[in-house]
Amino acid sequence: MAEDISEEKVAEAAAENSEVQGDESSVADDVGISKDKSRNKNDGTVAYLGDRIEIFCDQFLPDYSVKDNKAFRACSKSNVDEQLFAIVCELKYVPRRRAASDYPSFSSPCLLPFVTRGKIFWPPAQQERYVFIYKDTLGKRVFGKGDGLFKAWKPEMVTDAFVKPMVEMLLGFSERGFFHGGIRADNLFGTVSGDAIEDVMFGDCLSMPASAGQSALFEPIERAMADPVARGNGRPNDDLYSFGVLLIVLMRSYDPLEGMSDDEIIREKIANGSYNALVGKDRFKGDLLELARGILIDNPEHRWDMEDVMAWLDGRRLTPKQAAKNKAASRPFVFCGEEIFHAKALAAVLDKSPTEVAKIVDDEVLDQWLGRALVDDGAMERLFAAKEMARDTIRSSQTYPYLITAFTAHALDQDGPLRFRGLRLMGHGIGSSLHEAMVLKKDLVGFADMFLQSVAIHWANMTQESYVDFSALASKFEACRGHIRQTKVGYGIEKCLYFLEPDTPCLSPIFENRYIASIEDMMLAFEELCVSGHPPRMFLDRHVIAYIHAQDSKVIDSYLYDLNSKDEHEVALANLGCLAGIQKRFKVGKVPGIARYFLNKSSLLLKKFHDRELRDDVKSSMEKYVKSGNLGKIHALLTSSDTINKDFRMFLMAKKEYAALRAEYKRLDEQFDNEKTMGVATGRAIAAAVSAVLAIIVILISTITFYS
């Protein structure tokens, strides 16, 4: 008998979390909803993570919230004195679950202590959400509400209290390939007393996609230009850049960029370089100047990496390359009424009017500006290549302006994001952006077209960052193009989502109000739906199939063909087979609800068997396995090749017998057409035979009598 392993796993995981105190490195895998599920639905003010963590829905902590992800007070039953808090993730954001596995292994004092994570039933929204639980050791925000982005701290204080611990933290990240993505002013906490600060610490960086909470100020130019949710995981020196911006903000005496929008900040950085834009008229002295200049170099290839920073920390003095300003044109390019002097800045605004872009490219107005005003031969060559790329597209088609805009923007700004149909995406952020679009039910045509028209592949192949291998990304985009072209279930835009963003939960409408973070979650959700009397029409829809395929293709590959069949029987059987495989592979435990669902569908599942008696027998056997909730046994019953072959052979024999009976009946029926003469010939033949025998006897008797 299969045991309810899944609930035991939940209990074990919750038990692991019981030792919260003093064990920052211990981490549980995703903890599930409390065993006592009734509590989750009935309480309006408390949510439960496992059996030990309580989250108080009415104790909102605005200071700890990260954009739309709100923070609430929490506590552990095993240690009620210790303050915890929970960050409840909005559905539109993909939480960084994989990063959360690595996070607890870093033991920096600048990192927020992690407790656990998992999904909960969130009463205010009456739906399941993903949460991260941290210890509340943050202290106060260094930059309070209304504070300007400057502190004018002395370099000595900044070095001791901020730089040294931060560099250690970033070194740890760099060694393990971890990207924080949350280094910014409003995420900095500590204990400030007068001019001194202690215990600096950053807040949450896991509840949103990497860098989604960052303003343009704290991101390198190329990442700042992307949609926040589409920035994707960055490189270690992107965290360094953010750290460098924060360093300047802490030291400067005023904010030269105050009141500027994100676009204006980016424009200022492009025009004057990040360091100069951030520092303004302030002048810094000392070693920190060198550090700041080095890590704020806009060219990613020349920006300091951790090796350079550690060398600086060791006392070696490196002279950072002068922050080369982006080349300015001798005369501006006027686009949509705006005067623009830099190629990067122009690239950033092209997607405001794709039809205008098509015009300026076709009329070679842009070529002239690049050649004569900007004098950038490289950009001209790239522009020519862009035109070649778009050449095969019919100019009158609706797609052409978008295509030429995307390729032209990338020709002008090789480090910049992919710009297409209003989307601004870094390669590794496409998945989370697609997730947001699906959750918010936005138009997905841009994403589909991006792959179909090879815009994403072109972007990955042409991106300038030669020290980063984008070939793997290009291969992923190539695969996505294949997925989009396929209309079958298991492919399409859904497959792209789960393929590009493995942290995304399953977005199938079957799981309305549920958070499906894993295949096990999915099975348990199916079980709950069946037990509650609201099973789906069929378990595996497009989203579910694509999700399973992305998580573990082996468990579903062999059923994909049947799942695309028009025969309901084959689809149902494939559903059963796949779920049985999942139950076994992931050790889900018994699922009597799902088993009963398939029992109720037995008329469909048993169609393959011709013998009605065999159907009844198999159904009786299925009923036995329903109680044990063993889908594998039910599937084996229905797909036993011996049984199927025997049934088919017997069916053919029955068919033959039926045909023979029909022929015999027909023959007899034809004889009845002449009922009067029916049997007469036979009777006469018999009479003749009897008569012959009698005659012989008579003749013998006569002969004997006569001659005796």
Partner: protein, 186 residues
Amino acid sequence: MAKKDNAMKAMKAAKTRQAKASGGGMVRYRKHIFSVFGLLMAMVMLASAFLLLVALMPTFVAFFVDGSKRKMKAVTVGVMNFAGASTYLFELWSHGNSFDAAVTIIADPQAIVVIYAVAAVGYFLDWALTGFFATFIVQRAKARMKVIVERRSELEARWGAEVSGAVPDEGHEDIDELEGASGVAH
């Protein structure tokens, strides 16, 4: 499969026609030989022939009355008729097979009665047995048809309408090939 059956049936029919064509000639040939032989025997054994001519009158009647091809009625009556005439045939042969003896036997009313009575038994046998077995066969056929109907219902109840071929077998569209492969004729 249906095409195969039709081809085989056509071949069989052609062979039958061929056999009939060739056999029909043989039958007609045999008929001529028998007639000639019969005439010769009649001439050689005139007395016996005369006796049999009179004695087998019921047989001749039966032959002409019987409308069937195989003339089984004539056979039934004929063999009994001959059995009845055989005693007197022996008597004729014991009297030297003379024509006078044959006339004497024929003129004897007792002889005629006996001979014709035995022939009547043949008529009776033909009537009784034909009627009995014809009724038996009809009833048996009816019973068999009833059994067939019941059995077909059983098969349909157990195997579904697909067993009759009226409804296609879903999932086994290539059933003809499968049947051929399994050696089962449709």
